[in-house]
């Protein structure tokens, strides 16, 4: 009682992925088709407690991209990747709700206790992601659901 609300293990999480720039790899082909985020897009800064992401149940991919406007950035060319809470948990990581003024669905992926966020976890999590297509972003904005 009084603790953070439970997040279901089949919930979908989202994270922004910057546009591909010349020579820099931010998205990669995904096993099974489509694209995924590269591990560079799933790293945390030194000293940072966790990896920022958002809950699809609360914030749409379009909404996540529009938050870029509040940072003075043009959302054109940006991607959104999706992954599941169960994939995070399978890596021994936790999803901690952390709503902000700009993003009520914001949450953080953190290691248990005071453990460091290992680079290997970023890599393994990146392999579980899938870049949403433009069609999927539009469908979700219109109230539809993801089929995969």
């Amino acid at each position: 009682m009084g603790g953070p609300p439970e997040i279901s293990d089949d919930e979908v999480l989202l994270r922004r992925v910057p546009p591909a720039r010349d020579g820099e790899v931010m998205v990669e082909p995904r096993e099974g088709g489509g694209l995924r985020a590269s591990s560079f897009a799933m790293l945390v800064r030194r000293g940072e407690r966790g990896l920022s992401c958002t809950r699809l149940a609360i914030t749409s991919p379009e909404g996540l991209l529009q938050q870029l406007s509040c940072q003075g950035m043009d959302p054109s060319g940006w991607h959104v990747c999706r992954f599941f809470v169960r994939d995070v948990q399978a890596l021994g990581l936790q999803v901690i709700p952390d709503p902000t003024d700009i993003d009520p669905g914001h949450c953080e992926i953190r290691p248990a206790g005071r453990l460091k966020f290992a680079k290997s976890k970023s890599r393994k999590l990146a392999r579980k992601t899938r870049i949403l297509t433009d069609d999927e972003v539009r469908t979700l904005q219109a109230g539809g659901t993801l089929t995969d």
């Binding site: 922004r16 910057p18 720039r21 010349d22 020579g23 820099e24 790899v25 931010m26 990669e28 096993e31 590269s38 591990s39 560079f40 897009a41 790293l43 945390v44 800064r45 030194r46 940072e48 920022s52 529009q66 938050q67 870029l68 406007s69 509040c70 940072q71 003075g72 950035m73 043009d74 959302p75 940006w78 290992a118 680079k119 290997s120 970023s122 890599r123 393994k124 392999r127």
Partner: protein, 158 residues
């Protein structure tokens, strides 16, 4: 001196003004005669990877929208040295190049259908933080730091 102008005006989009007045050290080294001579004797991928590293200098602060730092010039220079070192080793494969949120250069190699990979963060103090990821045998995984570039070379493809 770096200036970065951000503003939030609700749903209004605004442009990012970013100028980096630091000298383009990486570009000047990359275009030097000595560098060109040495690198011409190495595989084509070394030249391309060095160019890709140099281009990381163009990324503005907050390039990832999650507070990512701009490229650290020392890390870029160390990364170019590492690439030249690796390029001199026969059969060395090309790495992927990216910037980490700390502004350091990240290099990665995959093999075994992506089940194994080496993730390297090039630190400004000439050391390398690396993670050998082995999804087919987690007992083979390693995560450590080294100042010896040959350690990195021995881990690739292992």
């Amino acid at each position: 001196m770096i200036s970065f102008d951000t503003s939030c005006a609700g749903a209004q989009r605004s442009s990012v003004a970013y100028t980096q007045d630091t000298p383009d050290i990486v570009a000047s080294i990359s275009s030097s005669e000595a560098f060109s001579r040495e690198i011409s004797e190495q595989p084509q991928w070394v030249r391309q990877a060095c160019k890709n590293v140099a281009k990381l200098q163009e990324l503005p602060p907050n390039w990832d929208s999650y507070g990512g730092e701009p490229a650290n010039v020392s890390s870029l220079l160390v990364a170019i040295d590492l690439l030249r070192f690796l390029g001199a080793i026969a059969g060395m494969p090309e790495p992927r190049v990216g910037l980490t949120p700390d502004g350091t250069v990240g290099l990665s190699w995959d093999w075994n259908n992506g089940l194994r990979s080496l993730q390297v963060e090039v630190l400004p103090d000439k050391s390398f933080a690396y993670a050998l990821v082995a999804e087919d045998d987690e007992s083979a995984e390693r995560e450590d730091e080294t100042t010896d570039p040959s350690t990195i070379a021995t881990l690739i493809g292992r």
